[in-house]
Symmetry: C2
Subunit: 327 residues, 2 copies
């Protein structure tokens, strides 16, 4: 995405990367070192980019908001660090996770530290009126709280193949959508957008979040390399979007095989292979992909009429990337 941003918007990805490195390469203590090791893994910085693009799409100036953009990434990475403890995942973005490297206790504290740095980072947006900075902090923290609600719901759903797809979607809107929403809305608020424009990027983010999560659920079955083990979802008994669609469409005999794949009794590799076969034969993979594409289309439509055209173009690209990670 950083190759052809056009004239109107700077290369935010590169600026963010540079800012992140500047802040976390030379560290004061072990806590910052661990936080840095989580933050400097090569992610796509989607959420910080969304904050900056949303500010510019709604008529604001992104250049003042780099610290706020980093703040959103801190929160996102904190949830990843804690997720990896919960799922006992050893790899993330192809590198050892914080808890694999430093142990559970330090990883847990590192996540807390990252969350608390959200406010510290926001306080560096000195060119923005304090009331707007605080409102952005509130929006981001409230999004983070919704992520927590989504994670708890997801855990409640574990192993439940009869879970309604609507419940799944509500969970995904919290677990994944909330932080996209927080990033976009905070960008609009910090950039001084009016309510109508702030609502537009918020709607964009909500659709993007659900589309993104559904596509994320598909990845283990598409053979894409994401750095995360493909077997993680079945190993954690997650009834993901394609799994729920497939189970609903399946006959009695296939339903038993779904149940077996999500029982935790098979070795993870076998369970994953069985699940993939079921998702293909039931057509669920294809229908999930279509559902994700519909959400992305709705996300794009939400941006119609916003003033910052170059930024809108970038947001459209991010939306397209959400369902085609090869971009």
């Amino acid at each position: 995405m950083s190759d052809d941003n056009g004239f109107a918007s700077p290369d935010w990805a590169e600026l963010l990367d540079r800012e992140m490195r500047k802040r976390w390469s030379a560290v004061a203590d072990r806590t910052e070192q661990m936080a840095g090791s989580a933050l400097l893994a090569p992610g796509k910085m989607v959420r910080p980019l969304l904050l900056l693009h949303s500010a510019e799409a709604t008529g604001g100036d992104g250049a003042k908001l780099l610290p706020a953009a980093l703040a959103v990434e801190y929160l996102h990475v904190a949830t990843l660090v804690h997720d990896d403890i919960i799922d006992d995942d050893q790899l993330r973005r192809g590198k050892p996770t914080v808890h694999a490297r430093y142990g559970m206790a330090d990883a847990l504290v590192t996540g807390d530290f990252l969350i608390l740095n959200v406010v510290t980072a926001l306080s560096e947006c000195t060119a923005v009126p304090p009331a707007a900075v605080f409102e952005a902090a509130r929006v981001i923290a409230s999004a983070g709280a919704d992520v927590c609600r989504g994670q708890v719901r997801e855990a409640e759903m574990a192993g439940d193949l009869t879970c309604p797809v609507a419940d799944y979607q509500e969970m995904a809107a919290l677990k994944t959508g909330a932080l996209f929403r927080g990033a976009c809305r905070a960008g609009a608020v910090l950039g001084g957008a009016d309510d109508e424009h702030a609502d537009a990027v918020t709607r964009y983010a909500e659709h993007l979040g659900v589309g993104f999560q559904i596509f994320d659920d598909l990845l283990p079955y598409l053979g894409d390399a994401t750095g995360k083990p493909a077997t993680s979802d079945v190993a954690n008994l997650r009834p993901t979007h394609p799994v729920l669609l497939g189970y609903q469409a399946a006959g009695q005999r296939d339903r038993q095989r779904f149940a077996e794949a999500l029982s935790g009794r098979l070795p993870a590799e076998d369970a994953h292979r069985l699940m993939r076969a079921l998702l293909v034969t039931t057509g669920a993979l294809e229908r999930s992909r279509q559902r994700a594409a519909e959400e992305i289309a709705a996300a794009r439509r939400s941006l119609d009429g916003l003033p910052g055209e170059a930024a809108v173009e970038q947001m459209v690209r991010i939306a397209e990337m959400a369902i085609d990670r090869s971009r």
Copy 2:
């Protein structure tokens, strides 16, 4: 403390308790339910009280700041919930810990949720200028980040009997002192205090924090009931204040016995009994207690000359309570 507050200040403890119950008794989902179960355990609300008293001691109006006071308790309880995961403690304040009751994954997320609610709660301080509210958020979040640094240092020190007492004190100032400091300074900031007064309550808090932590280290050996198992510190190989003093004062033979008590090889009960005997014979218990008393005296002195006399009196009481938990 709530029986004889005198005429000048309202019964903050009761007001806080009522506010907390109002907010967390009727809950919207499982996440709030778990957060409520952690928040409604009967604690002493020391940090929220410090915020309110600091506001009034420096000339502000505590009545506007109840949500901010709760915010500080959210952060404190979050650290307890996460600590209990790390230490695998099953009891806290005499009740099952969140992770004993709901499992590790949900407890971890509950802690995150509580941290994120800090900002939400602060946003309810609508009678305070936004710049002051955001500055309070920054002060509290930065204190929370220091708590994380302290926890990481504490983990680094595990099992190290040769750790200098100065390092211990720095760790305690972060792990325990930071949040007292954050509460007091945030109260002053929110109440509109001038810098000199804000600095005075900040110094009070720093001394209070270290004195409080040292006395906390003594509790397992004084036979006080704190709800936390008395063996927890030796089981987690913590070189606490009296242990470090005792080791330094001990001869070669007693040092070997200290090392044995903190080796993790003995059953926890035996290790604890051995440690207690060593702390008594080396005189370390008494000297630690004296050190704590000195910090508390320094805390009291820091309050000299502040305008809000009734609140100062309450802060003096809290300082005395820190080294005499029977009060």
